[in-house]
Every structure is written in structure tokens, then in C-alpha cells.
Amino acid sequence: MIQRADHNLNEYVTALIGGQLFGLPILRVQDVFAPERLTAVPLSPPEVAGVLNLRGRIVTLIDMRCRLGLGSRDDGQQSMAIGVESRGESYGLLIDSVGEVLKLDNRAWEPNPSNLDARLASVSTGIYRLDSQLLMVLDVDRVLDITVKVAA
């Protein structure tokens, strides 16, 4: 992954989800948008918030709160979405709000603490110690690895 590369600095798009700061490798981020006209998909996995049309492409929106087990949102604010691509498909990661782009030094990186919630640990590649808080690095592919229960 990018943060393991030899460069000293890695760039992350930061996102706030359920009060926790997350970072997504900037090279994986296509765009940031406010989701509109979301179409819910009946019978879909709970993580899938729905699908929408983003400039002619059909984007599958993943509810990150649900994906990370952070409870549902009730403050009534407009959610944002970070557009990513995986295996030729477009996804939007539904987040509470998007933050600034951070350039972070490799040396501030640490592996996940061993007592981290398993659900979070399964999608995170490590943690950066920022001055005021911790930033969790999300692995886009693992976030999108939603186990689909095949209906009989």
C-alpha cells in the first residue's frame, strides 16, 4: 500500500465518521460529493446504502457507519461521500463530513493496537498519531470487501 512505500510523506483525504477521524490514501480517492437522489436497493446487504447516478455512472454507496459498526447517524446533517474505484466499479463511501487533505510522515505511523475493535482492525492498515487525535488509515479494498451472504 502507499503508506508503506519509501516516501516519507503520504497524503490522505480525511473523513469524520461517528466522531472518529479516518484517512483514505489520496491516490484512491476520485472525488468527494454530496449524495443526491439515492435509490435504495431492496434485499441488499445492510452496508449498501443505495445506488445513485453520478455524472452518468452508477455509483454504489456504502454506509461507512454501518460498515464500521459505528451506529446510525441522527443529527440530521447532510452526509458526504468519497468516491473511490475498485475493480472497474465506482463506489461512494458515505461519511459524516470530509476534512482536509493531510500530508503525514511515515514516522508517525503505527500498526493497529492489538485491542482494537475487530471490525475496525479488519479494514484499517494502521494509525497515525496526530497532535490532537488519532487518524485511522482505511484500506479501500478491505472496506469494500463486504461479505455477501448468498441467498439460497
Binding site: 435509490t39 436497493v41 431492496p42 446487504p45 445506488v51 466499479e89 463486504i146 455477501v148
Partner: protein, 872 residues
């Protein structure tokens, strides 16, 4: 140079594919000079071009192969060995081409081994025959096939067209001047046809298609906007834009169409190699190779088809010895066919080999835990055969180099699923196996009906929509409820209904479906109604594949962007049909059994049963397929006439029959009725309450002595009396047929039942089953003969006399004529029992003659006939 090289590689690859096919044809038909000319020309072209591009390895190989083929042209016999050698050479050329494609240059290495073999072969053939004949053969374009090192071989059009058009032109002129003999003329023809096509990369076409898709979407958006404004000056030009878009779309779609033969091209070669390798004699028959379909679809089915043909050759077909022993021709046959049907293309891969090994599939399915040991015995054969599509399922006992390498039918099925197709398997032990694949013509753009349910909009592909019906509380189209199952009365038929709201869990108040719409949908031969809240309009939609996170939802085949910019899901009628569960499947099976060619065994399959109460609390049931309608009439309309209850029904008097003495015809309120019709006659059975429709295995465990009851079966875990409709019919109309209760017989004998009337098939099957026979029902004499010819063993046949196409007498004659079935006892059933008919029956070899309504007589005759066989 790059472009040139790339073009060369593509072109040569295509040429080689043709050479492959042609060589196999040539081997079978060595005297066909035309085929040889064609091959020769292609190889020659390759050789010439290689020289021009400076590809020495390819050139040397092509040259050696050409020399050998020259010998064939001179009349040397084309031995299988020689052809194999050339095929190997072509494979080597392909390998080199591959690395040429990736590395832009020929790979290291030499081909001396092959070249030496080729030269030896030339010498050997040369020693045997007309050696110097090459020049004598005098093809003008081959001034010297051996011009080795230097580029443009005169007469080589491909080389020339690159070297410069002028040169090519002069060459052609020169050839004409030299009084070009036949082959030259052909070349000109080829050149002409080449000029009418241009080569476009697939990417370009794909891109074009994407753009057209976007254009269609945009057009839809504009149409949507204009629809909202009554008076708009945009209307007319937009209409024109719309038409042009439609035509453009059609045009672009056409460019993507390719004959399915392209996917078959490699098969003759594969089959040839396999037959050599396996020591089998295999004939490959291909029909409908020019059937066109979308290239995207084509790409996806190419591998599955190849796999299935390999399977047929390797596992399906027997060795010549085995075939001879089984009384079959030594040559095994693999038949590929393709044709259009509706918006679909049907592809069939069939062989006349040994068929699937049902026992082994059973054992494997149980071993893999796909089904329990006790259940597997109850499954019909067709269902068992479907296990071969399960992941990791291979019954090949040994792994050959040909198949059984872990790539199984599950992969084939996956590929076909991906493109919204279906695959079905039919196997007859000892007679062969056939796969039928049904795939949509194109994946890109379809017309769809936009509907609404529970506040969501969905698209239903127009292809499977038969009609739209408005559901009303009263009147012709009424939705009726039988416990949780809802049905619609539509033109004398009961149509099962499924509500989208319910299906998608969007239902808050499930009850309110009256007032909604019913989309009557057809999947295969099965019809059902999809209940929706509203219907908007039809729209051409661009099908976009579903996200991989949603693809597991069988209800949807894809999604699309509507004119208003929102995304909606496209409903897959196949998936909805599956949601009906076994209901639809079993009805499908029943329909197929009654109308399709190879009759399916009726026993073992689940049957839809109508469960009701009449006279007692114990549930009673009757096969749903026998019932024409369910009615609820006002009790006051029931009249008493001549001591019998009657009701005026559709202009006729319909007699009402009670089951047992405890069932009273109601004096007031609504009286539920089960209506049975045959032709113009109807009768109704009076019941207290209709309980439910269930699918269950109709396995009559305890036969009954009570008149009107076939016996008891466990339905939904409850002991249920299965009502013998046949008992009640003659109570209504004496000539319907007369009945006495069946005699119980415990020997499981197999009966082949032939009758063109589905009503009687449905009627007699449970009766015979109750009497302890296993019944195979056939809707026509020809089907029955097919089954017999396939070697299905039967103890006795029962046939109707009056049947269209082939009557009972002719059937009997045909059975007697075949030595294998000459001894099969045949019992004739007829409503006409005249002395003449009986006499004719004796002559053609009926063992017994029973009146259609005399079921006791029939059971007695069966007993006698099967007893005789047993004694014999």
C-alpha cells in the same frame, strides 16, 4: 512499424483460425481442391508477409508447411500424420505470434525440429509420388513458393497492400495480363471483398456503444422534460432526434453483432485432436453458425461452449467398441446448433453418448452435502442432473488431459448467468446428453416497463411482459386469496401472483392490492402476475451491470439511469420466478411433461395441491392442475333441479356435487366451489372452506377404500385425504366416466401412459400411482416412441386410441415393429368401444382394450398384463 506489426498479428491469428478449420475439413475431404487452395493461399500470405516484416522464424516455418501442402496440391494423399504435422506447425506459429504481440519481436529459439520433420515428410511423400508437379500445378500467384529471404512475394496481396497500393495494382494488372487462370481470379474476388470491409478495433466499437448509450439516456432525459411541458417548440425536433438516435443505436448494435460461428471456429480442430488422443471417432455437426449475437455475449460463451464440447468428447461419447456393443454407430456425434427465438438466442450442445450417470451424481451430491441421502431418492432425475452445475462438482472418475481439471459446469453456468442467460440439461441414459443455453441477444439496451411498488420504481424488461391487468375488487379480474397465496382469475385461468412490495419487504399494508396493477409475466412456459402499485411508461433503458456487491440478488438483472437522472433496478423475471420457489418450477415441469417432447417422469416431482375442508376437519386436497377455477357464488343462486343442486354458470347449468354426506350446500352466504371443466362441460365440487395451495410431494401412502378418496398423503406435515376427482365427475355427467375404487397393488411396475389430453393424463396418473404403479406420462405417441427408442424400460404401455398426429393403432404398430419393444404389453383406452375397433386392436397387437371410463377394468388389465410379464 508498430501498427503494421499489430495488424499483422491480428490478421494472421484470424487466418490461422481459418486454416485450423479448413485443415480438419481437408483431412476428411482430401479431394476437395477448393479447400486446399484456400489453405494454401492463407499460409502463403502469412509466409510472404513474414518475409516482408523480417520475421525469419515465422517465415521459415510457413515456408516448410507450404512446401508440404504443395505436395498435397500435387496430388499426394493427405495422411493424418501429415495433417497433424501441419497443425503442430500452426500451433508453433501461434506461439511465436503470441510473444510477438507482447514483445514486438520473435522469441529466441529454433524450429529446426519441426522444419526437419516437415522436410522429411515432404521427401517421403515426394518419394511416393509426382514430385516435380509444383510448377506444373501452375498457380500464377506462386511464381516461386520458395522465394525465401526477400520480402514481397509477387502475387501476395497482403504484403503489397502494405508495401504500396500502386505496386499491388500493377501486380494485379500484370497477372491479368498474363491471362490469370482460376486461382488468380479468386484472389481478385477476395481483394474486392476485402475492400468492402474495414478493420476497426473492438475498443472503438465499445466506445461508440458507450456513447450511444449515453446519447439514449440524454434523449430520454429530454423526452422527460418535454413530456412535462404540454406546448413545447422542442417537441418536433426532439422527435426527430429521438428517431435518429434509435436508428443510430440500432446501427451501432449491428456493428457489434457477430456470427456465433466465430465462437465455434476452434472446435473442429479441438474435436479432431481429441478424437485422435482419445481413440474415439467423433463427428462434429454445426448448425446455424451464421446466427448473430452481440460480441460481448459471444466472448462470454466462447469458453463455456468449448468446455461443453470437450466434455462431450471426453466423458459423453463412448469408445467405438462400447458404441458398437450398445448398438450405436461407431462415430459419436456432437451437434452444436444455434437459432433465434424471440429476443433470445438458443444454443444447444448435444451428443449421442452415454448420458449422465445419475447414480454417480447422486452419490457425489450426497457426499458433498448438497442434499441428504433420504431426499435424494425423492428427487426426479432432471433435478439430480442439475447438481452438475454446483461448484466443484465433477463426476469424472479419472482426470484426463482433456477435461476434469477442476473447471466444471459450475464455471459454465456462472458465465452464462453473468449475461442473464439460463442453461438447462437433459440427459437420457445411453442415448445422450444435451445442454440448452438461452441468452439474450444483446445486453446493452432493452425496452422496459417502469413500475412503482412501495414508493420505489423498478424496470421490468418488456420482453417478458405479456400484458397489464388492472386489479379490481369486483368484475372479471379479481384477486383471490387462498390463505397466503394469491391468484388472479384471468380468462378462465388461475394466475399465481407475487407482490413486489411483499417480495422486497417493502410491504406495510400488504392487503391493499386491489386497485393496483398486475404485470402478467412469462418466463419460459410459466406465467405469473407481478403485483405493483403503479405503472408509468415504457422506456428504452441502457442496461448497466450491477455492482458486484449487489449481484447476488437474484431479483435484479442490472440497473439503469432513467430519463430523470435517477437510478433504478431492473427486475429479473427469472429471479422472481425462482422466488416462487418450487411452485413455478413444478408447474413448469408439469407443463413440460404434458406438452414437451421427452416426457418427464411424473412421480417424485412436487405437485401443487389445493387444500380444502369439506365435511370434516381433516384437510382434503386435490391436484391444482385438475382444477379449472375456484369460485365463490351466492348461495341463493343455487337451484334445485331434478333432485340435484345446480347453478347457472356462464350460460350453462353447472351441477354441484358434494363430497360425502356431511357437506351441505349452504343456504345463504358465499358458497366456495371447485370448478372442473373438460371441453364445454363444467361441474363443481362443493366445499366448506378453501385452505391453501401447497407444493408437496404427492406420495399417497395409504390407499383408501372410501369411494372418492384416492388415499392419504402427508401434505405440509399433515395427513390429508387426496380426493379422487374422477369419482365425482360421473356423478355430474354420467357419461364423463364411471368409477369404482382402485385395487391396491404393491408391485412397483412402470407404466407408460400416452394420451393427448392433459386432463386425462393428470387424472389417471394419480389413480395409477395410487394403485402402486410408477407412471411416465406422454402427451403424444411420438414422444412415447422416442422414450421407448431411448431404451427406457417399461412394463406396460397404456395408450389412448384417438390422438392427433399418430393414433393408438399406429403407435402399437410402431412398437411391435421394433424388436426391442415388440413384447411390450399395450393396453388401449378408448371412449369408443366397437367390435370393429376391438378387432383392429387385436390385429395391431393390443393386449387388452379398456373403455376410458372403466378404471377398475384398467387396473385389472394392468394387473393381468404386468403379472403376465412377471411370469414370463
Amino acid at each position: 512499424m508498430d501498427d503494421l506489426l499489430r495488424e499483422f498479428v491480428t490478421e494472421t491469428n484470424e487466418s490461422l483460425d481459418v486454416v485450423d478449420v479448413e485443415l480438419v475439413r481437408f483431412e476428411q475431404d482430401p479431394n476437395n481442391a477448393k479447400i486446399l487452395d484456400n489453405i494454401f493461399r492463407l499460409v502463403h500470405t502469412i509466409k510472404g508477409t513474414c518475409g516482408f516484416l523480417g520475421l525469419p522464424r515465422l517465415e521459415a516455418l510457413a515456408h516448410a508447411a507450404e512446401t508440404l501442402m504443395g505436395k498435397f496440391r500435387d496430388g499426394a494423399p493427405a495422411s493424418s500424420e501429415a495433417v497433424t504435422l501441419i497443425l503442430v506447425t500452426i500451433d508453433r506459429i501461434k506461439t511465436i505470434l503470441e510473444s510477438l504481440e507482447t514483445d514486438q519481436r520473435e522469441p529466441e529459439g529454433t524450429d529446426t525440429d519441426l522444419i526437419i520433420s516437415l522436410e522429411r515428410m515432404v521427401e517421403r511423400i515426394g518419394a511416393g509420388g509426382a514430385q516435380p508437379g509444383r510448377q506444373a500445378a501452375g498457380a500464377p500467384q506462386v511464381r516461386d513458393g520458395g522465394a525465401p529471404a526477400r520480402g514481397v512475394v509477387p502475387g501476395d496481396h497482403e504484403g503489397e497492400s502494405r508495401a504500396g497500393a500502386a505496386e499491388g495494382g500493377s501486380e494485379r494488372a500484370a497477372k491479368a495480363a498474363s491471362g490469370a487462370v482460376e486461382p488468380g481470379g479468386k484472389d481478385d474476388e477476395a481483394a474486392k471483398s476485402v475492400n468492402q470491409t474495414i478493420r476497426v478495433t473492438v475498443d472503438t466499437l465499445e466506445q461508440l456503444m458507450t456513447m450511444v448509450s449515453e446519447l439514449v439516456l440524454t434523449r430520454n432525459q429530454l423526452l422527460e422534460i418535454v413530456r412535462r411541458h404540454e406546448e413545447s417548440e422542442f417537441k418536433a425536433p426532439l422527435q426527430r432526434l429521438s428517431n435518429v438516435t434509435a436508428e443510430l443505436q440500432e446501427g451501432v448494435m449491428k456493428t457489434r453483432m457477430q456470427p456465433i460461428g466465430n465462437a465455434w471456429q476452434k472446435l473442429p480442430r479441438i474435436v479432431r485432436d481429441l478424437s485422435n488422443e482419445l481413440g474415439k471417432k467423433i463427428e462434429l455437426e454445426m448448425q446455424g453458425a451464421d446466427t448473430e449475437l452481440d460480441r460481448q455475449v459471444l466472448d462470454l460463451i466462447k469458453d463455456p461452449l468449448t468446455h461443453m464440447v470437450r466434455n462431450s468428447a471426453d466423458h459423453g461419447l463412448e469408445s467405438p467398441d462400447e458404441r458398437r456393443a450398445a448398438g450405436k454407430p461407431e462415430h459419436g456425434l456432437i451437434r452444436l446448433s444455434a437459432y433465434h427465438e424471440g429476443g433470445y438466442i438458443i444454443i444447444r450442445v448435444a451428443d449421442d453418448g452415454r448420458g449422465l450417470d445419475t447414480e454417480r451424481i447422486k452419490a457425489k451430491a450426497v457426499a458433498q452435502g448438497l442434499v441428504s441421502e433420504s431426499d435424494v431418492e425423492k428427487l426426479p432425475e432432471a433435478q439430480i442432473h442439475k447438481f452438475i452445475f454446483s461448484p466443484g462438482f465433477s463426476t469424472a472418475a479419472r482426470i484426463t488431459s482433456v477435461s476434469g481439471r477442476g473447471v466444471g459446469m459450475d464455471v459454465v453456468r456462472n458465465n452464462i448467468d453473468q449475461i442473464g442467460g439460463t442453461i438447462d440439461v437433459k440427459s437420457v441414459a445411453g442415448a445422450g446428453l444435451s445442454f440448452t443455453i438461452k441468452i439474450p441477444l444483446t445486453l446493452a439496451i432493452v425496452a422496459a416497463l417502469i413500475v412503482e411498488a412501495g414508493g420505489h420504481r423498478f424496470a421490468i424488461p418488456q420482453l417478458s411482459v405479456v400484458e397489464l391487468v388492472r386489479a379490481r375488487g369486483e368484475g372479471e379480474h379479481r384477486i383471490e386469496r387462498i390463505k397466503d397465496t394469491r391468484v388472479l382469475r384471468l380468462r378462465d385461468k388461475l394466475l399465481p401472483l407475487v407482490s413486489l412490495r411483499h417480495l422486497f419487504g417493502l410491504a406495510n399494508d400488504v392487503d391493499d392490492i386491489n386497485g393496483g396493477y398486475i404485470v402478467v409475466t412469462q418466463v419460459g412456459s410459466q406465467s405469473f402476475g407481478i403485483v405493483v402499485d403503479g405503472v408509468f411508461h415504457t422506456e428504452e433503458i441502457v442496461v448497466k451491470p450491477m455492482s458486484s456487491k449487489l449481484r447476488h440478488i437474484a431479483m435484479f438483472s442490472g440497473n439503469t439511469i432513467l430519463g430523470d437522472g435517477s437510478v433504478i433496478m431492473i427486475i429479473d423475471p427469472n429471479g422472481v420466478a425462482q422466488a416462487f420457489g418450487t411452485n413455478v418450477a413444478s408447474q413448469l415441469a408439469a407443463v413440460e411433461a404434458s406438452e414437451a417432447k421427452p416426457a418427464a417422469a411424473v412421480g417424485g416431482a412436487t405437485t401443487s395441491l389445493l387444500v380444502f375442508r369439506a365435511g370434516s376437519m381433516q384437510p382434503k386436497a386435490v391436484p391444482l392442475s385438475l382444477i379449472t377455477r375456484l369460485e365463490e357464488i351466492d348461495a341463493r343462486k343455487i337451484e334445485l333441479s331434478n333432485g340435484r343442486h345446480m347453478v347457472q354458470y356462464r350460460g350453462h347449468l353447472m351441477p354441484l356435487i358434494s363430497i360425502g354426506e356431511n357437506v351441505r350446500v349452504k343456504g345463504e352466504g358465499a358458497q366456495p366451489l371447485l370448478v372442473f371443466s373438460d371441453g364445454s362441460r363444467s361441474m363443481a365440487i362443493v366445499v366448506d372452506e378453501i385452505v391453501d395451495i401447497v407444493d408437496d410431494n404427492l406420495d399417497i401412502q395409504v390407499a383408501s377404500d372410501t369411494p372418492g378418496v384416492l388415499g392419504s398423503a402427508v401434505v405440509r406435515g399433515q395427513a390429508t385425504e387426496i380426493i379422487d376427482v374422477g369419482h365425482f365427475l360421473p356423478l355430474a355427467f354420467e357419461d364423463w366416466f364411471r368409477r369404482k375404487e382402485p385395487q391396491v397393488q404393491h408391485r412397483p411396475r412402470s407404466v407408460l401412459l400416452v394420451d393427448d389430453s392433459p386432463f386425462f393424463l393428470n387424472m389417471l396418473t394419480p389413480v395409477l400411482q395410487a394403485a402402486g404403479y410408477s407412471v411416465t406420462a406422454c402427451a403424444s405417441a411420438r414422444d412415447a416412441l422416442t422414450l421407448l427408442a431411448e431404451g427406457r424400460p417399461f412394463d406396460v404401455a397404456i395408450t389412448d386410441i384417438e390422438m392427433p398426429d399418430m393414433n393408438g393403432f399406429e403407435f402399437a404398430e410402431a412398437v411391435r415393429a421394433d424388436p426391442r419393444t415388440a413384447d411390450l404389453p399395450i393396453i388401449a383406452l378408448s371412449s369408443v368401444v366397437s367390435p370393429e375397433a376391438i378387432e383392429r386392436g387385436r390385429r395391431v397387437g393390443f393386449h387388452d382394450y379398456v373403455a376410458k371410463f372403466d378404471r377398475q377394468g384398467l387396473i385389472a388389465a394392468l394387473k393381468e398384463q404386468t403379472g403376465v410379464v412377471q411370469a414370463a
